[in-house]
Symmetry: C2
Subunit: 254 residues, 2 copies
Protein backbone atom coordinates (compact mmCIF):
# COMPACT_ATOMS: atom_id res chain seq x y z
CA UNK A 1 0.00 0.00 0.00
CA UNK A 2 2.83 2.36 0.88
CA UNK A 3 4.41 1.91 -2.56
CA UNK A 4 1.17 2.78 -4.37
CA UNK A 5 0.69 5.78 -2.12
CA UNK A 6 4.09 7.08 -3.30
CA UNK A 7 3.29 6.32 -6.95
CA UNK A 8 -0.01 8.19 -6.57
CA UNK A 9 1.89 11.23 -5.31
CA UNK A 10 4.24 11.10 -8.30
CA UNK A 11 1.24 10.72 -10.59
CA UNK A 12 -0.48 13.75 -9.09
CA UNK A 13 2.70 15.78 -9.41
CA UNK A 14 3.01 14.80 -13.07
CA UNK A 15 -0.62 15.61 -13.77
CA UNK A 16 -0.35 19.07 -12.24
CA UNK A 17 2.65 20.03 -14.41
CA UNK A 18 2.24 21.37 -17.90
CA UNK A 19 3.09 18.45 -20.20
CA UNK A 20 4.56 20.66 -22.93
CA UNK A 21 7.33 21.86 -20.62
CA UNK A 22 9.45 18.70 -20.45
CA UNK A 23 12.26 19.89 -18.23
CA UNK A 24 9.92 21.52 -15.71
CA UNK A 25 7.95 18.28 -15.55
CA UNK A 26 11.11 16.28 -14.85
CA UNK A 27 12.29 18.80 -12.26
CA UNK A 28 8.91 18.67 -10.55
CA UNK A 29 8.92 14.89 -10.45
CA UNK A 30 12.48 14.81 -9.13
CA UNK A 31 11.68 17.34 -6.42
CA UNK A 32 8.65 15.31 -5.39
CA UNK A 33 10.76 12.10 -5.30
CA UNK A 34 13.34 13.83 -3.11
CA UNK A 35 10.56 15.10 -0.86
CA UNK A 36 9.12 11.59 -0.52
CA UNK A 37 12.60 10.21 0.31
CA UNK A 38 13.20 12.89 2.94
CA UNK A 39 9.77 12.31 4.45
CA UNK A 40 10.40 8.56 4.39
CA UNK A 41 13.64 9.02 6.29
CA UNK A 42 11.96 11.22 8.89
CA UNK A 43 9.12 8.68 9.09
CA UNK A 44 11.51 5.77 9.70
CA UNK A 45 13.31 7.72 12.41
CA UNK A 46 10.02 8.62 14.08
CA UNK A 47 8.87 4.99 14.03
CA UNK A 48 12.22 4.01 15.48
CA UNK A 49 11.94 6.59 18.24
CA UNK A 50 8.38 5.62 19.25
CA UNK A 51 9.13 1.92 19.06
CA UNK A 52 12.41 2.08 20.97
CA UNK A 53 10.52 3.51 23.94
CA UNK A 54 8.78 0.13 24.22
CA UNK A 55 12.03 -1.83 24.28
CA UNK A 56 13.39 -2.91 27.66
CA UNK A 57 17.22 -3.21 27.86
CA UNK A 58 18.46 -6.73 27.27
CA UNK A 59 15.37 -7.93 25.45
CA UNK A 60 15.29 -10.55 22.74
CA UNK A 61 13.22 -9.37 19.78
CA UNK A 62 11.94 -11.72 17.11
CA UNK A 63 11.19 -10.43 13.63
CA UNK A 64 9.87 -12.04 10.48
CA UNK A 65 10.72 -11.24 6.86
CA UNK A 66 12.40 -7.90 6.18
CA UNK A 67 11.14 -4.50 7.26
CA UNK A 68 14.46 -2.72 7.15
CA UNK A 69 16.34 -0.15 5.10
CA UNK A 70 16.20 -2.30 1.98
CA UNK A 71 12.40 -1.96 1.98
CA UNK A 72 12.31 1.82 2.64
CA UNK A 73 14.52 4.85 1.94
CA UNK A 74 16.24 4.75 5.29
CA UNK A 75 16.35 2.32 8.15
CA UNK A 76 13.04 0.64 7.90
CA UNK A 77 10.05 0.16 10.14
CA UNK A 78 10.39 -2.97 12.32
CA UNK A 79 14.17 -2.71 12.04
CA UNK A 80 14.00 1.04 12.77
CA UNK A 81 12.69 0.12 16.21
CA UNK A 82 15.60 -2.27 16.69
CA UNK A 83 18.26 0.07 15.28
CA UNK A 84 16.97 2.88 17.45
CA UNK A 85 16.96 0.72 20.61
CA UNK A 86 20.46 -0.51 19.72
CA UNK A 87 21.74 3.04 19.25
CA UNK A 88 20.34 3.88 22.68
CA UNK A 89 22.54 1.13 24.13
CA UNK A 90 19.64 -1.14 25.03
CA UNK A 91 21.61 -4.31 24.18
CA UNK A 92 18.93 -6.12 22.27
CA UNK A 93 19.39 -9.43 20.49
CA UNK A 94 17.33 -10.13 17.41
CA UNK A 95 16.02 -13.53 16.35
CA UNK A 96 15.44 -13.35 12.61
CA UNK A 97 13.11 -15.90 11.03
CA UNK A 98 14.68 -16.92 7.73
CA UNK A 99 11.23 -16.51 6.10
CA UNK A 100 10.67 -19.19 3.51
CA UNK A 101 10.27 -19.42 0.63
CA UNK A 102 12.30 -16.38 -0.41
CA UNK A 103 14.48 -16.12 2.71
CA UNK A 104 14.22 -12.35 3.17
CA UNK A 105 15.07 -12.85 6.84
CA UNK A 106 18.26 -14.78 6.11
CA UNK A 107 19.35 -12.74 3.12
CA UNK A 108 18.25 -9.21 4.04
CA UNK A 109 17.35 -8.82 7.71
CA UNK A 110 20.33 -10.76 9.07
CA UNK A 111 22.63 -8.81 6.74
CA UNK A 112 21.22 -5.38 7.70
CA UNK A 113 21.46 -6.11 11.41
CA UNK A 114 24.94 -7.59 11.14
CA UNK A 115 26.13 -4.57 9.12
CA UNK A 116 24.96 -2.19 11.85
CA UNK A 117 26.45 -4.29 14.62
CA UNK A 118 23.18 -5.48 16.15
CA UNK A 119 23.48 -9.00 17.62
CA UNK A 120 21.33 -11.27 15.46
CA UNK A 121 20.59 -14.99 15.55
CA UNK A 122 19.18 -16.56 12.42
CA UNK A 123 16.57 -19.31 12.87
CA UNK A 124 14.36 -21.35 10.59
CA UNK A 125 10.72 -20.30 10.75
CA UNK A 126 9.71 -23.48 12.57
CA UNK A 127 12.13 -22.74 15.43
CA UNK A 128 10.31 -19.59 16.61
CA UNK A 129 8.09 -21.49 19.06
CA UNK A 130 11.08 -23.21 20.68
CA UNK A 131 13.00 -19.94 20.97
CA UNK A 132 9.98 -18.38 22.67
CA UNK A 133 9.56 -21.36 24.99
CA UNK A 134 13.20 -21.03 26.07
CA UNK A 135 12.53 -17.45 27.17
CA UNK A 136 14.84 -15.93 24.58
CA UNK A 137 12.21 -13.57 23.14
CA UNK A 138 10.41 -10.80 25.02
CA UNK A 139 8.91 -8.98 22.05
CA UNK A 140 7.95 -9.55 18.43
CA UNK A 141 8.17 -6.66 15.96
CA UNK A 142 7.23 -7.08 12.31
CA UNK A 143 6.38 -4.80 9.40
CA UNK A 144 3.14 -4.63 7.42
CA UNK A 145 2.09 -4.55 3.79
CA UNK A 146 -1.44 -3.30 4.40
CA UNK A 147 -3.47 -2.54 7.51
CA UNK A 148 -7.28 -2.51 7.47
CA UNK A 149 -9.41 0.07 9.28
CA UNK A 150 -9.86 -2.27 12.26
CA UNK A 151 -6.14 -3.07 12.57
CA UNK A 152 -6.10 -6.46 10.84
CA UNK A 153 -2.65 -6.56 9.25
CA UNK A 154 -1.50 -8.23 6.04
CA UNK A 155 2.18 -9.10 6.02
CA UNK A 156 4.54 -11.75 4.67
CA UNK A 157 3.35 -15.35 4.99
CA UNK A 158 4.16 -16.73 8.43
CA UNK A 159 3.45 -13.51 10.31
CA UNK A 160 0.05 -14.75 11.49
CA UNK A 161 1.60 -17.94 12.84
CA UNK A 162 4.25 -15.96 14.71
CA UNK A 163 1.49 -13.83 16.24
CA UNK A 164 -0.32 -16.95 17.48
CA UNK A 165 2.89 -18.39 18.93
CA UNK A 166 3.64 -15.09 20.65
CA UNK A 167 0.16 -15.08 22.17
CA UNK A 168 0.63 -18.65 23.43
CA UNK A 169 3.82 -17.57 25.22
CA UNK A 170 2.47 -14.26 26.53
CA UNK A 171 4.88 -12.27 24.35
CA UNK A 172 3.60 -8.93 23.00
CA UNK A 173 3.41 -8.77 19.21
CA UNK A 174 3.95 -5.36 17.57
CA UNK A 175 3.53 -4.13 14.02
CA UNK A 176 5.68 -1.19 12.85
CA UNK A 177 4.41 0.68 9.81
CA UNK A 178 3.97 4.21 8.48
CA UNK A 179 0.48 5.65 8.50
CA UNK A 180 0.47 5.39 4.68
CA UNK A 181 0.21 1.59 5.14
CA UNK A 182 -3.31 1.93 6.52
CA UNK A 183 -6.03 1.30 3.98
CA UNK A 184 -9.03 2.76 5.80
CA UNK A 185 -11.32 1.85 2.90
CA UNK A 186 -10.91 -1.80 3.91
CA UNK A 187 -13.06 -2.55 6.96
CA UNK A 188 -11.17 -5.68 8.04
CA UNK A 189 -8.72 -8.33 6.93
CA UNK A 190 -11.34 -10.74 5.59
CA UNK A 191 -11.53 -8.77 2.35
CA UNK A 192 -7.78 -8.61 1.75
CA UNK A 193 -6.99 -10.99 -1.13
CA UNK A 194 -4.14 -13.45 -0.50
CA UNK A 195 -1.86 -13.60 -3.54
CA UNK A 196 -0.66 -17.09 -4.47
CA UNK A 197 2.82 -17.39 -5.90
CA UNK A 198 4.66 -19.93 -8.06
CA UNK A 199 5.16 -23.50 -6.73
CA UNK A 200 8.71 -23.21 -8.05
CA UNK A 201 9.63 -20.90 -5.14
CA UNK A 202 8.94 -23.75 -2.73
CA UNK A 203 10.24 -26.68 -4.78
CA UNK A 204 13.32 -25.01 -6.31
CA UNK A 205 13.89 -22.05 -4.00
CA UNK A 206 17.60 -22.59 -3.59
CA UNK A 207 18.60 -23.25 -7.17
CA UNK A 208 18.18 -26.95 -6.64
CA UNK A 209 15.10 -29.16 -6.72
CA UNK A 210 14.14 -30.04 -3.14
CA UNK A 211 10.78 -31.78 -3.67
CA UNK A 212 9.48 -34.51 -5.98
CA UNK A 213 8.52 -33.41 -9.49
CA UNK A 214 4.86 -32.61 -9.96
CA UNK A 215 3.99 -32.31 -6.27
CA UNK A 216 1.11 -29.97 -5.45
CA UNK A 217 2.24 -26.80 -3.69
CA UNK A 218 0.33 -24.10 -1.84
CA UNK A 219 2.35 -20.89 -1.74
CA UNK A 220 0.39 -17.95 -0.31
CA UNK A 221 2.49 -14.78 -0.32
CA UNK A 222 0.79 -13.13 2.63
CA UNK A 223 -1.41 -13.79 5.60
CA UNK A 224 -3.56 -11.58 7.78
CA UNK A 225 -2.95 -11.17 11.50
CA UNK A 226 -6.15 -10.22 13.34
CA UNK A 227 -6.01 -6.97 15.31
CA UNK A 228 -6.78 -8.91 18.49
CA UNK A 229 -3.32 -10.51 18.34
CA UNK A 230 -1.52 -7.17 17.95
CA UNK A 231 -0.37 -5.40 21.13
CA UNK A 232 0.30 -2.17 19.28
CA UNK A 233 0.98 -0.61 15.89
CA UNK A 234 4.05 1.61 15.91
CA UNK A 235 3.61 4.50 13.45
CA UNK A 236 5.54 7.71 12.84
CA UNK A 237 2.76 9.50 14.73
CA UNK A 238 2.97 7.32 17.83
CA UNK A 239 1.97 3.86 19.05
CA UNK A 240 -1.62 2.81 18.47
CA UNK A 241 -2.76 0.61 21.34
CA UNK A 242 -4.98 -1.12 22.00
CA UNK A 243 -5.50 -1.76 18.30
CA UNK A 244 -9.05 -1.11 17.12
CA UNK A 245 -10.95 1.05 14.68
CA UNK A 246 -11.34 3.88 17.16
CA UNK A 247 -7.69 4.15 18.23
CA UNK A 248 -6.62 3.91 14.59
CA UNK A 249 -8.96 6.72 13.50
CA UNK A 250 -7.72 8.87 16.38
CA UNK A 251 -4.06 8.45 15.35
CA UNK A 252 -4.32 8.20 11.55
CA UNK A 253 -7.64 9.40 10.18
CA UNK A 254 -9.65 12.57 10.32
CA UNK B 1 14.45 -44.27 21.35
CA UNK B 2 12.95 -46.89 19.06
CA UNK B 3 16.31 -47.37 17.25
CA UNK B 4 18.18 -47.99 20.51
CA UNK B 5 15.46 -50.37 21.64
CA UNK B 6 16.12 -52.46 18.50
CA UNK B 7 19.89 -52.25 19.00
CA UNK B 8 19.44 -53.40 22.61
CA UNK B 9 17.52 -56.42 21.38
CA UNK B 10 20.30 -57.28 18.94
CA UNK B 11 22.84 -56.79 21.70
CA UNK B 12 20.96 -59.12 24.06
CA UNK B 13 20.66 -61.72 21.30
CA UNK B 14 24.40 -61.52 20.68
CA UNK B 15 25.23 -61.78 24.37
CA UNK B 16 23.04 -64.84 24.86
CA UNK B 17 24.76 -66.74 21.99
CA UNK B 18 27.94 -68.67 22.54
CA UNK B 19 30.68 -66.44 21.10
CA UNK B 20 32.87 -69.36 20.01
CA UNK B 21 30.23 -70.56 17.54
CA UNK B 22 30.50 -67.83 14.89
CA UNK B 23 27.92 -69.04 12.41
CA UNK B 24 25.33 -69.74 15.10
CA UNK B 25 25.88 -66.22 16.42
CA UNK B 26 25.32 -64.74 12.96
CA UNK B 27 22.28 -66.90 12.36
CA UNK B 28 20.87 -65.89 15.70
CA UNK B 29 21.40 -62.19 14.98
CA UNK B 30 19.87 -62.50 11.52
CA UNK B 31 16.83 -64.31 12.91
CA UNK B 32 16.39 -61.59 15.52
CA UNK B 33 16.72 -58.89 12.86
CA UNK B 34 14.06 -60.58 10.73
CA UNK B 35 11.85 -60.89 13.80
CA UNK B 36 12.23 -57.18 14.53
CA UNK B 37 11.41 -56.32 10.91
CA UNK B 38 8.31 -58.51 10.94
CA UNK B 39 7.18 -57.06 14.28
CA UNK B 40 7.86 -53.56 12.95
CA UNK B 41 5.68 -54.23 9.93
CA UNK B 42 2.87 -55.58 12.10
CA UNK B 43 3.32 -52.61 14.44
CA UNK B 44 3.06 -50.08 11.58
CA UNK B 45 -0.08 -51.80 10.29
CA UNK B 46 -1.63 -51.79 13.78
CA UNK B 47 -0.85 -48.08 14.22
CA UNK B 48 -2.38 -47.46 10.80
CA UNK B 49 -5.50 -49.41 11.71
CA UNK B 50 -6.05 -47.66 15.06
CA UNK B 51 -5.28 -44.24 13.60
CA UNK B 52 -7.44 -44.61 10.51
CA UNK B 53 -10.46 -45.11 12.76
CA UNK B 54 -10.02 -41.51 13.87
CA UNK B 55 -10.01 -40.16 10.31
CA UNK B 56 -13.24 -38.75 8.94
CA UNK B 57 -13.69 -39.08 5.14
CA UNK B 58 -12.58 -35.99 3.22
CA UNK B 59 -10.36 -34.63 5.95
CA UNK B 60 -7.24 -32.58 5.44
CA UNK B 61 -4.38 -33.90 7.55
CA UNK B 62 -1.25 -31.89 8.25
CA UNK B 63 2.00 -33.64 9.07
CA UNK B 64 5.48 -32.42 9.92
CA UNK B 65 8.84 -34.01 9.08
CA UNK B 66 8.80 -37.67 8.02
CA UNK B 67 7.24 -40.52 9.92
CA UNK B 68 6.81 -42.86 6.98
CA UNK B 69 8.23 -46.03 5.54
CA UNK B 70 11.67 -44.50 5.13
CA UNK B 71 11.92 -44.19 8.92
CA UNK B 72 10.61 -47.68 9.72
CA UNK B 73 10.61 -51.15 8.12
CA UNK B 74 7.22 -50.72 6.57
CA UNK B 75 4.82 -47.88 6.12
CA UNK B 76 5.59 -45.74 9.06
CA UNK B 77 3.70 -44.31 11.98
CA UNK B 78 2.07 -40.96 11.18
CA UNK B 79 2.02 -41.91 7.50
CA UNK B 80 0.66 -45.36 8.39
CA UNK B 81 -2.45 -43.62 9.66
CA UNK B 82 -2.74 -41.73 6.39
CA UNK B 83 -1.96 -44.71 4.14
CA UNK B 84 -4.48 -46.82 6.03
CA UNK B 85 -7.20 -44.14 5.79
CA UNK B 86 -6.39 -43.72 2.08
CA UNK B 87 -6.64 -47.48 1.46
CA UNK B 88 -10.04 -47.41 3.15
CA UNK B 89 -11.16 -44.86 0.54
CA UNK B 90 -11.44 -42.01 3.02
CA UNK B 91 -10.22 -39.43 0.46
CA UNK B 92 -7.81 -37.57 2.67
CA UNK B 93 -5.52 -34.77 1.50
CA UNK B 94 -2.23 -34.31 3.28
CA UNK B 95 -0.51 -30.99 3.88
CA UNK B 96 3.19 -31.74 4.31
CA UNK B 97 5.36 -29.15 6.07
CA UNK B 98 8.65 -29.03 4.17
CA UNK B 99 10.43 -29.13 7.56
CA UNK B 100 13.47 -26.92 7.51
CA UNK B 101 16.40 -27.15 7.73
CA UNK B 102 16.74 -30.63 6.23
CA UNK B 103 13.45 -30.70 4.30
CA UNK B 104 12.38 -34.21 5.26
CA UNK B 105 8.79 -33.21 4.52
CA UNK B 106 9.59 -32.02 0.99
CA UNK B 107 12.10 -34.72 0.16
CA UNK B 108 10.67 -37.79 1.93
CA UNK B 109 7.06 -37.33 3.06
CA UNK B 110 5.83 -35.72 -0.16
CA UNK B 111 7.62 -38.44 -2.16
CA UNK B 112 6.19 -41.33 -0.12
CA UNK B 113 2.65 -39.99 -0.32
CA UNK B 114 2.92 -39.21 -4.03
CA UNK B 115 4.28 -42.71 -4.72
CA UNK B 116 1.28 -44.31 -3.00
CA UNK B 117 -1.20 -42.04 -4.73
CA UNK B 118 -2.25 -40.04 -1.67
CA UNK B 119 -3.12 -36.42 -2.56
CA UNK B 120 -0.45 -34.24 -0.97
CA UNK B 121 0.17 -30.50 -0.91
CA UNK B 122 3.62 -29.29 0.04
CA UNK B 123 3.85 -26.10 2.12
CA UNK B 124 6.61 -24.17 3.82
CA UNK B 125 6.56 -24.52 7.60
CA UNK B 126 5.42 -20.94 8.08
CA UNK B 127 2.29 -21.56 5.97
CA UNK B 128 0.73 -24.07 8.40
CA UNK B 129 -1.18 -21.40 10.33
CA UNK B 130 -2.72 -19.97 7.16
CA UNK B 131 -3.70 -23.41 5.87
CA UNK B 132 -5.40 -24.09 9.21
CA UNK B 133 -7.15 -20.71 9.17
CA UNK B 134 -8.54 -21.45 5.72
CA UNK B 135 -10.18 -24.59 7.09
CA UNK B 136 -8.08 -26.93 4.98
CA UNK B 137 -6.87 -29.04 7.91
CA UNK B 138 -9.05 -31.08 10.27
CA UNK B 139 -6.34 -33.13 11.96
CA UNK B 140 -2.60 -33.05 12.63
CA UNK B 141 -0.69 -36.35 12.84
CA UNK B 142 3.05 -36.45 13.52
CA UNK B 143 5.59 -39.03 14.64
CA UNK B 144 7.74 -39.00 17.76
CA UNK B 145 11.38 -39.56 18.64
CA UNK B 146 10.82 -40.05 22.36
CA UNK B 147 7.80 -39.86 24.64
CA UNK B 148 8.13 -39.25 28.39
CA UNK B 149 6.07 -41.04 31.03
CA UNK B 150 3.59 -38.15 31.18
CA UNK B 151 3.14 -37.97 27.39
CA UNK B 152 5.41 -35.01 26.65
CA UNK B 153 6.72 -35.79 23.17
CA UNK B 154 10.07 -34.98 21.59
CA UNK B 155 9.97 -34.76 17.82
CA UNK B 156 11.57 -32.84 14.95
CA UNK B 157 11.95 -29.10 15.48
CA UNK B 158 8.74 -27.29 14.58
CA UNK B 159 6.40 -29.93 15.96
CA UNK B 160 5.72 -27.93 19.12
CA UNK B 161 4.82 -24.86 17.07
CA UNK B 162 2.44 -26.90 14.93
CA UNK B 163 0.77 -28.21 18.09
CA UNK B 164 0.24 -24.65 19.35
CA UNK B 165 -1.17 -23.54 15.99
CA UNK B 166 -3.50 -26.56 15.95
CA UNK B 167 -4.72 -25.69 19.44
CA UNK B 168 -5.38 -22.07 18.38
CA UNK B 169 -7.58 -23.34 15.53
CA UNK B 170 -9.33 -26.08 17.51
CA UNK B 171 -7.71 -28.81 15.42
CA UNK B 172 -6.86 -32.07 17.22
CA UNK B 173 -3.14 -32.89 17.26
CA UNK B 174 -2.18 -36.59 17.30
CA UNK B 175 1.14 -38.36 17.77
CA UNK B 176 1.61 -41.78 16.14
CA UNK B 177 4.38 -43.92 17.61
CA UNK B 178 5.12 -47.50 18.63
CA UNK B 179 5.11 -48.29 22.33
CA UNK B 180 8.90 -48.72 22.11
CA UNK B 181 9.12 -44.93 21.69
CA UNK B 182 7.99 -44.39 25.27
CA UNK B 183 10.81 -43.78 27.71
CA UNK B 184 8.99 -44.34 30.99
CA UNK B 185 12.18 -43.61 32.96
CA UNK B 186 11.78 -39.96 31.91
CA UNK B 187 9.08 -38.29 34.03
CA UNK B 188 8.41 -35.42 31.64
CA UNK B 189 9.77 -33.47 28.69
CA UNK B 190 11.71 -30.93 30.75
CA UNK B 191 14.58 -33.40 31.17
CA UNK B 192 14.85 -34.31 27.48
CA UNK B 193 18.03 -32.68 26.14
CA UNK B 194 17.61 -30.67 22.92
CA UNK B 195 20.44 -31.46 20.51
CA UNK B 196 21.87 -28.47 18.65
CA UNK B 197 23.03 -29.02 15.11
CA UNK B 198 25.45 -27.28 12.75
CA UNK B 199 24.72 -23.68 11.67
CA UNK B 200 25.71 -24.79 8.18
CA UNK B 201 22.39 -26.67 7.82
CA UNK B 202 20.56 -23.34 8.09
CA UNK B 203 22.97 -21.10 6.18
CA UNK B 204 23.97 -23.53 3.41
CA UNK B 205 21.18 -26.08 3.49
CA UNK B 206 20.73 -26.31 -0.25
CA UNK B 207 24.29 -26.32 -1.48
CA UNK B 208 24.27 -22.56 -1.76
CA UNK B 209 24.93 -19.90 0.86
CA UNK B 210 21.63 -18.23 1.81
CA UNK B 211 22.71 -16.05 4.77
CA UNK B 212 25.56 -13.61 5.44
CA UNK B 213 28.88 -15.16 6.41
CA UNK B 214 29.50 -15.41 10.14
CA UNK B 215 25.90 -14.85 11.21
CA UNK B 216 24.90 -16.49 14.51
CA UNK B 217 22.52 -19.43 14.06
CA UNK B 218 20.40 -21.37 16.51
CA UNK B 219 19.59 -24.80 15.13
CA UNK B 220 17.83 -27.04 17.66
CA UNK B 221 17.13 -30.48 16.18
CA UNK B 222 14.08 -31.25 18.29
CA UNK B 223 11.46 -29.69 20.46
CA UNK B 224 9.10 -31.06 23.07
CA UNK B 225 5.34 -30.88 22.72
CA UNK B 226 3.60 -30.90 26.12
CA UNK B 227 1.11 -33.71 26.67
CA UNK B 228 -1.63 -31.13 27.22
CA UNK B 229 -1.48 -30.20 23.53
CA UNK B 230 -1.81 -33.82 22.34
CA UNK B 231 -5.33 -35.15 21.69
CA UNK B 232 -4.11 -38.73 21.55
CA UNK B 233 -1.11 -40.97 21.01
CA UNK B 234 -1.75 -43.64 18.40
CA UNK B 235 0.22 -46.80 19.26
CA UNK B 236 0.10 -50.36 17.93
CA UNK B 237 -1.85 -51.27 21.08
CA UNK B 238 -4.51 -48.63 20.61
CA UNK B 239 -5.05 -44.90 20.99
CA UNK B 240 -4.02 -43.35 24.30
CA UNK B 241 -6.38 -40.51 25.17
CA UNK B 242 -6.54 -38.35 27.04
CA UNK B 243 -2.76 -38.30 27.26
CA UNK B 244 -1.44 -38.53 30.82
CA UNK B 245 0.73 -40.75 32.99
CA UNK B 246 -2.16 -42.96 33.98
CA UNK B 247 -3.55 -43.65 30.51
CA UNK B 248 -0.01 -44.27 29.24
CA UNK B 249 0.75 -46.78 32.02
CA UNK B 250 -2.53 -48.55 31.31
CA UNK B 251 -1.73 -48.97 27.61
CA UNK B 252 2.06 -49.36 27.65
CA UNK B 253 3.44 -50.21 31.08
CA UNK B 254 2.86 -52.92 33.67
Amino acid sequence: VNLFWALDRMDATGASAKLDRGSALLEGLLAEAHAIAAEDQAMCRAIGKHGAELVVPGEGILTHCNAGGLATSDYGTALAVIFSAHEQGKHVRVFADETRPLLQGARLTAWELQRRGVPVTLICDNMAAQVMKEGKVQKVVVGADRIAANGDTANKIGTYGVALLAQAHGIPFYVAAPSSTFDLAIPDGSVIPIEEREPHEVTHGFGRQTAPAGVDVYNPAFDVTPAALIAGIITEKGVIRPVNGETIREMIGG
